[in-house]
Symmetry: C2
Amino acid sequence: MNLTPAYSNGYHNQQQQQPQGMSQRDRVRRGTRARSRELRDNFGSGGNFGGLRVSEPNKQQQQGVPSTDFDMAYFHTYAHVDIHEEMIKDRVRTESYRVAIMQHQSSIAGKVVVDIGCGTGILSIFCAQAGAKRVYAVDASDIAVQANEVVKANNLSETIIILHGQPYLLLKMIVLQDVNIDGEVDVIISEWMGYMLLYESIPGSVITARDCWLKPGGLILPSSATLYMAPITHSNGYSECIDFWRNVYGIDMSAMLPLAKQCAFEEPSVETIVGENVLTWPHVVKHVDCHTVMHHELESVTTNYKFKSMMRAPLHGFAFWSDVEFCGPTLAPTNNQAPSLLINNLPVEGQQRKKQANPNEALVLSTAPEDPPTHWQQNVLYFYEPIELEQDQLIEGCVNYDYAQFVSLHSYNTIGGRR
Amino acid sequence: MNLTPAYSNGYHNQQQQQPQGMSQRDRVRRGTRARSRELRDNFGSGGNFGGLRVSEPNKQQQQGVPSTDFDMAYFHTYAHVDIHEEMIKDRVRTESYRVAIMQHQSSIAGKVVVDIGCGTGILSIFCAQAGAKRVYAVDASDIAVQANEVVKANNLSETIIILHGQPYLLLKMIVLQDVNIDGEVDVIISEWMGYMLLYESIPGSVITARDCWLKPGGLILPSSATLYMAPITHSNGYSECIDFWRNVYGIDMSAMLPLAKQCAFEEPSVETIVGENVLTWPHVVKHVDCHTVMHHELESVTTNYKFKSMMRAPLHGFAFWSDVEFCGPTLAPTNNQAPSLLINNLPVEGQQRKKQANPNEALVLSTAPEDPPTHWQQNVLYFYEPIELEQDQLIEGCVNYDYAQFVSLHSYNTIGGRR
């Protein structure tokens, strides 16, 4: 998609590029990351294993048909290797986690950490480098077998225990079987964010782990997450998926428009927008405090919004993006602590956020269009028809996004404005 | 992936680019084209409908929950709209079909055409523009509902009959029920090509349609298809997916190498290579004459190859690509005709092909690295370790690719060469 926005709000001007190190390569049979991560993070609906500590695999490999557990794991993991490669190569993502872990080294050194959805184990290794006494690294997918190999090769098997299975089963195992947690868990770390922030099954596992294992006052990284939306003007994007059908190699395929519009209106696309597309400050759709969020809050989001356009421009729809913060327990209240005074600086759902409320310089990993690009890009819902907005015109409405149905519903109307 | 090949064989130098009009946009829940096309072309394993002629849909639309068949079709088709958009926007692909249809106008005008896997119906409309008396456009996916709308909007309902379902059921229907074919079919057209040429279920439907419907001497577009392979030197590609794991943010993740290598060796990636990556003339892995090919030939390909490198360079693996030709029946023998003299100019499996054997200027749609880019790109299998090839060194071996298992097996060795 060519991005040549015709309008500018004057406060964003960074051009988006392919994130450094990201690959154009794809496997024939893999799905997009959204689907693949859903499989990877299959905590909610049953993995291949009920839960087991990864033990010494049989390393014998045969060319051809897999015959050993180790070989089977190789095959099962096929669809996942390039997913993990892609995520790790997203330097904004991975470096943010590394820096966050080092910033909180005093809370990690000598402590017990749980890494939920550990993948290849890289975040667990960062925690070990920060001095963690013990890291329990949990993943339901077969990538856990690989993580165990990586840990062994780095002589970290004494520190990092790879657990292959679902957290709720692992809980029983850790308590009852061959793994003994010396005490309760001091730190939970997880990279759980998906498209539209919550389009993954893994955040629920973080809640489970928090409620079962985390000590009062424990650290959760990230500590909070916020989903934003903002009205955008994006003629090229709209044209690419909607107007395209009006003249297809000289054929009028306008009969495709109702379906194309319905898809673009109800199902978010994953694409890169730039600051110039954004018409005003973003609105906080959902703020998730990882210390207090409950399972039912992850099923859908609903928000009432009200925007005032900063300029005269055609409004094509809404972009969504998110950020996560890596605050210590003193900034973000735990489920055992009263909210601190600083809570008022956190994003408030239903309100606009004009700048980062970040008085203590907590690290933020952002997927906003004005920030360095990530593999998440942004998500866009397009209106059926563009709305010609006047400067200062209000647009208000309601949007609901259902993560199980992948479908959004919204209504809106416009008020006022000046020519 | 950055493509800066260090070696050149001196006969390819065209830089590959994103095909014109191709979008960076993606839907949150869609898979890659490979998977989505597999769903779209779900002729072999049962679609949503056993087979029906698309009739007037109930156009009433309600915001929210789908309630009518038409609305349900809208929802079912979600994952497909952007797939069709992507394919149509591949100008190399779509323009090739349009030109081929116009080149064969004398065989199409006044004749009966069947379009297998018609999608949005664009090829059927091209055939109608070429003067076809009747086009039966078949698709198992719900996109057929849309195709019918497009046809109606273009006042072509008298010419193009959209059939929604599986060909083998439609056959019975056409013969026994409400659709009467006046005579037998003169032309079969289909865009059925997938990754590694045959990674789709739709080619089998072309065979079924041919054997049931096509008149002796009838036209099939494309008339033939050829899968090629060639040894490549591609340090950057190998490094991106293999060497990457040796140092990941300072961590030695070499323990990932066995899995990464196995994946890269057995499962083709989809990526763009350039002529400079290719070490010698390609080898014909599989030649499919659409007039004679049988179902069992589509399940897997096996070939013995022998290459002589044109230069000294590290050999990283093999690239695969394909082309299809749009020859008339006089060039390509039908299942009812003896092979013509020109058959000897067609690609021969197991042999190298130094240039296009195309004496009659038959149109070719090619996905070769030296040709304009398409959405298919190329497919690559990487070796476990690069092989330092000398100039004129022979490499020979055998490769098997199983389309059901998505897995390749190969063996190889090198002979001779000069420093």
